[in-house]
Each structure stands twice: as C-alpha cells, then as structure tokens.
Amino acid sequence: MKRVPTVITGTVGMDAHVIGTKVLSRALRDAGFKVVELGMQVTPEEFISVAQETKADAILMSSLYGMAELDLKDFNHKRMEAGLGDVLLYIGGNLVIGRYDPREIEPKFKALGFDRVYPPGAEPEIGIEDLKKDLKAKGKM
C-alpha cells in the first residue's frame, strides 16, 4: 500500500496574507498529499502541537509581512524538544523587510532549521517536487 504523507500549511505569526497558503494547500491536495490546512496567523506552538497530533511529515509555512525571522527565532529548538526533529520544514514568502536577495536570506532560515526556503511568488509545483524528493530520501514516500 502506498503511504500518503501528511503535511501542514499556514501563515506564521501575525501574518494574515492567506492566499498563498490556500493555493499551495490546494496544489498539495491535488498532488495526493493529506493536507492539514491551518490557514492564517498560526503561532509556532500551534504548528508544533498539530504536527505532534497528526504525525505530520512536513510543515510548509508562508509569511509575507517580513517578520518571519522574529516569529521563528526559537522554532527549531521548540520542535526538537517536541520530538519533531525529523519533520521537514519549508518556508516561503517575503521573509524579511524591503527588497532583498533571496540568496542572502536562505542561509539565515536554514540556520533556523528550515530545509527549504523559497522566494516570493515561487510556483507551488517547484515546492511539491522538492517535497516528494525529500520525503523519498527519508523513506517516507
């Protein structure tokens, strides 16, 4: 039997730009994933407890309001303590304020524990392909 991976989506912190995460959730569902869609303004702690509860394989966060770095400062520590060290972490959007070079941002978020970091306007398909690849590499798909 083929395993259906569970993924969680939502915008993190006080960010209310919900369109991106909705589009992404739909694309993930179409691609055969089980999607737990948390919508907008999801606290880091909520991502963690939902991931524990649903035994999620990946968390895909969006943030467009430029405060993601602050919102996620200790996220990696918290998810380790919560036993979620093996869960894939993706993030995409306007991750810091103002114009920036996405290549400069990536290492910052990787250091915060994220496996993949996407610039604003990234196509859902790219993320989904990456997700399949990463899950296969972990033997979860």
Binding site: S49, Y65, M67, L70, K73, H77, K78, M80, E81, G83
Partner: protein, 457 residues
C-alpha cells in the same frame, strides 16, 4: 503561661546562626553567631550558639524550645541539571533547581557524552535532575541519558526524573537494579512555553530532608533542633515571597527583590511578574520567566571569587593598592583601614550591579514594517518598589545603601530593566532565613517580624 518562643537555626558554611523569637510579642529576643563545625561535629557549634542564647535570655534549656532549621553547610545542596535543548528543558530544570535553593554545579544539554558523564561523576552532585522533551515530545535524548546515568558508580545516587512522561516506563527499566534512588515527578516543561517547577521543587526538598542532610553530617543536629527542613537559599526565597505577597490580613510590600552578596556567590531573588511597563514592548521569552525567580552568580564573591569579581573593574578607575587589598580579602582579611573599606565597598557594589544586571531582563531594538519595535527578554523589574539587602558584605558594611544602589537602573545602560525608584530595606539582624522558616508554620507572624526588623535606609 510562658511566651511562645521559637528557635530558628541556619547552619551556614562559615557560621551557624540562631535567632530566638518571641512569637507572642513578635520580637527577636536574642541572636547568636558562632563558627560552623560541620567538618567535625555540627552539634558542637550549635551547642555553643545555644549557650550564647541561654546567657542572653536566661532560658535554661533552649534546646527544649520549638525549633526549625535550614542549612547551606558542607557545600549546600549541589545539583546537576540535564535537559535536551539548552534554551528549553535544560533552562527549565535549572530554574527548578535554583528555585529549590540548590547550587547548580553542572548544566547539560542533548545526549550526554562519555566525557560529560565522567565530569558529572567527578562533580558528585547531591541530586541529578533529569529532564528532556515535552510530554509526548522527544523521547530519545532523555532515555539515552537515563541509560548512561544508570551505569554510573556509587557517587551518583539521587536522581529526579522530570521530563517527557511517555518515557518513564523505559527509564524505570533502565534504572532497575542500578541501586540508585530515582524519583519520578511531573515534567518541568510539559508543553512548549509552559514551566511547571512546583512538583519538582517538592521532591528536591524531600530528598534534601530525608537523605542529603544525613549524608552531610547535618542530621546529627536533629536530636537538638528537629528536622532541617530546607536549604538556606530556599528559606530566603520563602521569605521574599511572603514579604511580597503578604499573609492573611497583613499586606506585603508588593513586588520586590532580595539581593544577597556573599563570600563565594551573589544571589538575586525577584518576586515579580516582570511584564513590560511601557507601551509598544513585546515579550519574547522562549520559556516563561518564573514569578519567583532566583539567580546565582557563581563567579561574584567577596572572598573566594574575588579574582573574577575584580575582573569587572577593568577599564574603571580603581583605588590605590587595589590588587594587594583584594588579595588580603581573598585570604580572609576583613576590611579595616579606610583604603580597605573603600575597596570592599566598591567590590560589593560591583557584585550587586553585575548580578542584578544578569538577573533583570533587557530590551532589544528591532525594525519592523511599522517602525522601531522593542523586544523584551527576561523580566522588566523597572517598576519594583522594594529592594531588600542581606548577606555579610551588605549587613556589615558602613554604607549598605551605597552597595544596594548597584541594583539601580542606569541611564548609561538603558536597555537593562533594573528597578528605577525602589525603597531600600536592610536585613540588619540577618533574619530573612528565620522569616522564611517561620513562614512555613506562622506566616502572618513571620511577616510581622520581617516588617518590624527590616530597616528602611
């Protein structure tokens, strides 16, 4: 009928102190201070102190009075804390141990290495506090750590487990036949962002009373003064709590701090919520700050750690002969000449300044789409209205206020949230420990006693 007189005893590392309190009149009728004799026979010092009390009060057999005692003798309560992530369960365990009056002699995170285990065995703490993982969270780390702790030698015999409850069956299996005393209690961090140290505190105190006192030779005093019920720092913390909150109909002082510099360390206690006092400030504590918080600066002492303390004078103007005078203090000399008194004052104030700066929260400025933002790490103590000073360097100083002013907010360091306009109180007769002990049975009278004898300066 005779008055209800209680004896309160503190077995310190240097001195054994006894206070005789008349509870009906809420009065100190006598105090005594004699050198501690824990290395030979703790009862010798105690008997000498009781003789002194007897001479001062005319009470023929003070040992027959009702009494309570605390102890920091023989190194105090030495604990090693182990958690998973440093900022989370390790920190939560550290808060729990400090709040129970322990001296944290080692703090570890993640899976313990062979070298770390050797280190812990060499440290030989009185108690190990093992945590890790939220309930239902990480299991691997705490189970791994329990597994190697179970294989340690006889020097490690008291372990409190306060981590992910899901792992307890596996941990019990690991410790089976290890011959160690293992106590299981509630997780110090049951979920992300929640600190739950009270059940752990209770277990620490219980082991302290039942086992550790005995191992340190303090238990011999039991025949004379009954149980030694808590470590001395814990008694001071109890007093701080009582003083802040009040009891029965008697109001307390409200949110406060107690500062306690000593020969080896400087302790700071705060009983305060620590929420932001100015608008536009966001709190960003990964782990909530304890309402009753104790920190210990292990490198700030006026005798044993004077070297590391005097390092903080670097770049500042120092009085003449500073180094030689410090060396004298280190060897146990008490300040006598004006030069020595000045140096001691400077160092004591510095110890208070650095320790309170470490204890208090701080602000961090960041820039957001809506402009400048202030983030608060730790507790905002700017609004604290009462600062109580205790400990030898303050009590015996010619100018205690000047030392305590080291606790004040500084305009040249505006992001550190120290008290801005507190009133200062001096524990002139060294009674805080007695107030803390007494608060366990007679909280209202203990509070009245404190209010009567703490001197506003």
């Amino acid at each position: 009928m005779t008055d209800d007189i209680r004896l309160l005893v503190d077995f310190g590392s240097t001195f054994t102190k006894v206070a005789a309190i008349d509870l009906d009149k809420v009065e100190v009728i006598a105090t005594a201070r004699v050198p501690s004799t824990v290395e030979t026979d703790i009862t010798l010092g105690l008997e000498a102190a009781l003789k002194e009390i007897s001479a001062k009060t005319g009470i023929k057999s003070p040992e027959k009075l009702k009494s309570m005692a605390c102890s920091s003798a023989a190194g105090g309560l030495r604990m090693v804390c182990i958690g998973f992530v440093p900022e989370l369960t390790s920190k939560a365990a550290n808060h729990a141990a400090l709040g129970a009056g322990a001296k944290v002699v080692g703090l570890y995170s993640f899976k313990l290495t062979g070298q770390e285990i050797d280190e812990i065995e060499k440290t030989a703490p009185d108690i190990i506090l093992l945590s890790g993982g939220t309930d239902g969270g990480d299991e691997a780390t705490i189970i791994h750590n329990a597994g190697i702790l179970a294989k340690t030698g006889r020097k490690i015999d008291n372990i409190i487990v306060a981590g992910n409850k899901v792992t307890y069956d596996a941990i019990k299996a690991a410790f089976k036949d290890s011959g160690k005393r293992v106590i299981y209690t509630r997780n110090v961090m049951p979920e992300i962002g929640v600190l739950d140290t009270a059940p752990c505190n209770k277990e620490i105190r219980e082991i302290f009373i039942k086992n550790i006192i005995k191992a340190k030779g303090v238990a011999r005093a039991k025949e004379i003064v009954g149980d030694v019920i808590m470590p001395t720092p814990s008694a001071v913390l109890e007093a701080a709590k009582l003083l802040a909150e009040g009891s029965g109909g008697e109001a307390g002082y409200g949110e406060l701090m107690v500062i306690d510099p000593g020969g080896a360390t400087t302790d700071v206690h705060s009983v305060a919520e620590g929420i932001p006092t100015s608008g536009g400030v966001t709190m960003v504590n990964t782990l909530p700050e304890p309402y009753v918080k104790r920190t210990v600066e292990g490198n700030l002492g006026l005798k044993y750690n004077i070297d590391s303390l005097s390092e903080f004078t670097r770049g500042k103007k120092i009085p003449p002969h500073f180094r030689e005078i410090c060396q004298g203090f280190h060897e146990g000399k008490l300040p006598e000449s004006q030069e020595e008194i000045d140096c001691h004052l400077l160092l004591s104030r510095l110890a208070v300044d650095v320790a309170v700066t470490q204890h208090a929260g701080r602000l961090e400025k960041i820039y957001s789409p809506t402009g400048e933002m202030l983030l608060q790490h730790g507790k905002d103590l700017t609004g604290v209205k009462t600062v109580v000073g205790t400990g030898g360097p303050i009590i015996f100083s010619a100018n205690p206020k000047e030392i305590m002013e080291g606790a004040l907010y500084r305009k040249d360091n505006p992001l550190v949230l120290k008290p801005k306009e507190p009133g200062f109180y001096l524990d002139e007769q060294y009674l805080l420990y007695a107030v803390g002990l007494l608060s366990q049975e007679e909280p209202q009278k203990a509070l009245l006693l404190a209010k009567k004898y703490l001197k506003q300066i």
